[in-house]
């Protein structure tokens, strides 16, 4: 298990000072090992930039550490063995089989001139079985449905066997049934593999249901962080998303679990 430490992390785009825009203002947080943190906020809030900074796709200021080790000091392979990343729109080659695609997740463990070992194939076969992808393993990705592809992308990330899993809008392309399936899967895998999960999410109700903690970003700045019931208030959502909603919080009397439901209402405020 590994935690993610973020200390004053900033992301800026644009080389010239006059055109520089700040995507993430200094962001400080400590994601505990095994925790699932949901990043929420409107488009352009900096959720994706933060995830991309953690996985090393954009330069960042401040410090990002996995178990106290600075990601900047890691080689590409070392980092890939610690952090698996599922982008918002993965580039999926149509003419590759699901198994070949999932095998790419083993790259961090293969020597520069080496090829996949027997162990790599066993790991991938195991992941495919757990995600119920065995029937599709040798089919081409171009022949699979959106939900199946999504699971194959998850399979690749899990084949990386990295303790930290970053998901950027993992369910945005799926219908409500597949959204639930995908998130249930992540929840189960997290328990089973003791993963630390950071996910950017648009659906607030789903985010509230599945994550341990929510962090709301707006213009790169954290406006709220904590359990869903505290973060998701109708007033705050109105301010940040410019939206008209009601928020219901239901508490299960038996277990004490709370469910937060965000319902959009007619009569959106003028932009």
């Amino acid at each position: 298990m590994s935690g993610v430490g973020l200390d004053g992390v900033t992301v800026t785009y644009g080389r010239r000072a006059s055109r520089r825009t700040t995507a993430v203002a200094p962001f400080t947080d400590e994601v505990a090992a095994g925790e699932w943190v949901g990043l929420i906020g409107p488009n352009g809030a900096g959720k994706s930039s933060l995830l991309r900074a953690i996985v090393g796709l954009v330069e960042h200021g401040g410090e990002i550490g996995i178990d106290g080790r600075d990601v900047r000091e890691m080689s590409d392979r070392e980092r890939a063995a610690l952090i698996a990343y599922v982008p918002q729109q993965p580039l999926i080659p149509d003419d590759m089989t699901a198994r070949e695609y999932a095998l790419l997740g083993r790259s961090p463990y293969i020597n520069y001139f080496g090829s996949e070992s027997h162990n790599d194939r066993v790991v991938v076969a195991d992941v495919l079985r757990r995600l119920e992808l065995e029937p599709f393993a040798d089919r081409l990705l171009g022949e699979l449905s959106g939900g199946e592809r999504q699971r194959v992308v998850l399979a690749r990330a899990l084949a990386q066997q990295a303790p930290v899993l970053l998901l950027d809008e993992p369910t945005s392309a799926l219908d409500i049934g597949h959204q639930q399936q995908a998130l249930e899967l992540v929840a189960e895998l997290r328990r089973h593999d003791e993963l630390t999960v950071v996910s950017a999410m648009h659906d607030l109700t789903l985010a509230a249901t599945y994550t341990d903690r929510l962090t709301m970003l707006h213009h790169g700045v954290v406006v709220a962080s904590g359990v869903a019931a505290d973060v998701l208030t109708a007033e705050r959502l109105g301010d940040v998303y410019n939206v008209c909603v009601t928020v219901d919080v239901e508490t299960d009397d038996a277990t004490g679990d709370t469910t937060v439901i965000v319902v959009p209402r007619r009569g959106a405020p003028a932009p």
């Binding site: 796709l57 698996a84 003419d95 790419l104 997740g105 293969i110 080496g114």
Partner: protein
Amino acid sequence: MDTARRDRTWLLAGAAFLLFAVVVGASTGPAGPDWWRVPLELVNRLPLVSFDTGVSEAEWKIVWQIRMPRVALGGLVGGMLSIAGASYQGVFRNPLVDPYLLGAAAGAGLGATIALTIGRGVTASWPLDPVPTVAFLFALATVMVTYTVGAAFGGSRSGVTLVLAGVAVVSFATAVQTFILQRNLEVIREVFQWILGRLSGATWADVRLVVPYVVVSSIVLMLHRRHLDVFRVGDEEAATLGVSVGRTRLVIVVAATLGTAAVVSVSGLIGFVGLVVPHVVRLLAGAGHRRLLPLSLMGGAAFLILADVPGRMLTRPAETPIGVVTAFIGAPFFIYLLRTRKVTA
């Protein structure tokens, strides 16, 4: 494992095709022994085998000194251009790319033009024909300029800026070449002939010249087959999978360019092979680079050896330029494959 067995079957098929091409290439020509005697004689020349095939020493000389260097050079050029094309297409994730993309051909053309403009009269007495050497150096230099320009503006991670830089640098080199040609009309014919590409007049010395480059370059590319598969998910995702994208791409491009420049400098610009052979292999055997690279190497070699055969016979005693033949055979075949395989390229 099942895929491993299929890999082996494909490799055997590729090797058989190559062997077939070599035998056909050695057996046909306007002069020399009956075609069917040549395969027998080839077997006869193997160690520990000896029987009478009715091929005279003089006839064997035609086969060994005239046809075989052509076959060998054709194989090296075709194989190199194809494996380099497959690697370029893989590393830039662009199906329309060929090994001339970053300026290897334009640079070689410019170099050859300059060398020919200085004049055969001046260079005839030199111990080394300067045209291939100058073409080779210009090819490398041009690709280096492209890479520097592309990296400076897009960062080494962006393949797109490299392709665009290639377009700009190629236009520039072609413009300079056109300018030189326009001021030296007397070399146009010679330059044009060089540009069309040829295997005729190939000698074992030519073969020896390019072998080291082709061998080194092919080995390096083959060792990066797995990396090329990772590149298929895009630069960014490849980076998150632990591939040092910029550095790995540089190694692949350098290897592919070195081999391409070497073969271009002896054979001229033979088009179409580096673009189409990898696609044909993909359509037949799948897009994974584990098969694509070795099969492109063997398939490209066989294709160019075979493409060289009608060139010798069609318009004899004159030669049809091989670039014409490759396009003439390759284009319809490629269209046929696209149609029957229902592939969206």
